[in-house]
Amino acid sequence: MIVAERKPIEKVLEMIAPYKKVLVAGCYGCVTVCLAGGEKEVGILASQIRLARSKNGNPIEVVEQTVERQCDAEYLAKFQDNVSSVEAVVSLACGIGIQYLAEKSPVPVFPGVNTLFLGANLDVGKWAERCFACGDCVLDKTGGICPIARCSKSLLNGPCGGSQYGKCEVSKDVDCGWQLIYDRLKALGQLDKLKEIIPAKNWKRDKGPRTLVREELTLERD
């Protein structure tokens, strides 16, 4: 999922300082799962805003609404009534949802979260990065552990000299991605895979912002 965390309330208040009526827009997708921007968090932020502003003698009206996915035009349409009645929007969706909503909104849309990474939920309250969306997955060569996201240097051909006791040179709290890969391949009896030299990667940035068009689906729609 896309992992995000709430921006500090002070930052949010700063962004909406000039306005008297705002919408706090949530999303039932990833940000609900990582407890940063779902219906519940929308409610909390809305109350915080109201409280802070009325304390300052500068009350504000806050509308709340959450949709299935802010990264999907179909669901974004549901915001239509609310966005046309407010002066600004604070979106708690990931960076993608915030942008997509901003594209469709007549009023300014501000980010209520910091979008962090593509990660997994390891435990209650714990998330960790797992993929960089590199566009050419090499997990088949590395025992299902991503060298790009889990090695601090995104090395493709084995550990740097700083790997020791299973930890990365960056910190004793960070596992060395290459030690994990080594251990996993050893357990699978596939250590010989590590002998292969993985050539310099095509990072697929040659066409600007990446897009995906699947002809068979666009045809179907027509």
């Binding site: 601090s152 240097k153 995104s154 090395l155 493709l156 051909n157 084995g158 550990p159 740097c160 000299g161 700083g162 790997s163 020791q164 006791y165 299973g166 930890k167 990365c168 040179e169 960056v170 910190s171 060395c176 290459w178 030690q179 080594y182 251990d183 590590l194 002998k195 030299i197 993985i198 050539p199 310099a200 990072w203």
Partner: protein, 314 residues
Amino acid sequence: MKEIKFENLKSGSNLEKVLVSGQFACTGEIGPPTYASFDVIDKHAKEMKGKVDAVNFTDNQTAVVRLSSWGASLRLIYEHGMEPNLQVVCRDRNRLAMQSDLLAAYAHGVRNVLCLSGDHQSFGNHPGCKSVYDVDSVQLINMLKRLRDDGCFECGAECKVNPKFFIGCAENPFGDPFEFRAIRLEKKIEAGADFVQTQCILDMERFELFMEKVRELGLHKRAFICAGLMPVKSPRMARYMQTGVPGMLVSEEFCQRLEKAEDPKAEAVNITVEYIKRCQQIEGVAGVHIMAVAWESIVPTVIEKAGLLPRPTF
């Protein structure tokens, strides 16, 4: 001096000639300053002249901004008539910048290049920077080999005057997973490394174990392996390296010898000289690389005491 006839040299560098002619190589290292002057480079170059076969210049070592390794290398060539070993890390440049810098370096007379991953930016003075790692060290080695042997850039396009470098790599016998270290070295040699300078050896036994694996794989016959050595002038420094530097192993004996010594600096020299002699006995070690970090001026003394003078000339 007997004239040696060299055939099929890859780069024709002095270091290559020393190694190919079967003589025990000896290189030094200078960390460029964190300011815009050649002062320390000139000072240490003068000290090392005639004492080492080539001088490594570190590339923003420990991710701290320093005078560039290629800038320092040119100074060594033009001002001192000495041979540099240009270190290149993958942290700060993408494949375009690397290849372009190396074309210029070669045109200016640089012949040895040492390819490294580079310390993570979190160690340095710009921890918030965006690191590059467009290619890793194995890929960098291969890029240089293709430039040299196939006359083409990483993309495959032709390079009309191709840089013929003597290609070096590092390997850390003390990092983990230990069993993978020799295999990783094999990958680097497979990718095109001609010579190797190991991470500094402060635990001889572990190094000997590593060399056993290297010999099992026959790697010492495919590349010249130079043992990295570091004179460590204070017991505190040794302890710090033992516990505080990731990827480093420092033997208890090493620390205690410095701690017990009346004159730790003299003992540091003794240990380094001893280690050089031990390395000369290890099958497959073709030379030593002495990195006296922040103590460069001691290098000539160490080399002299180890009986490595005079250095060969061609």
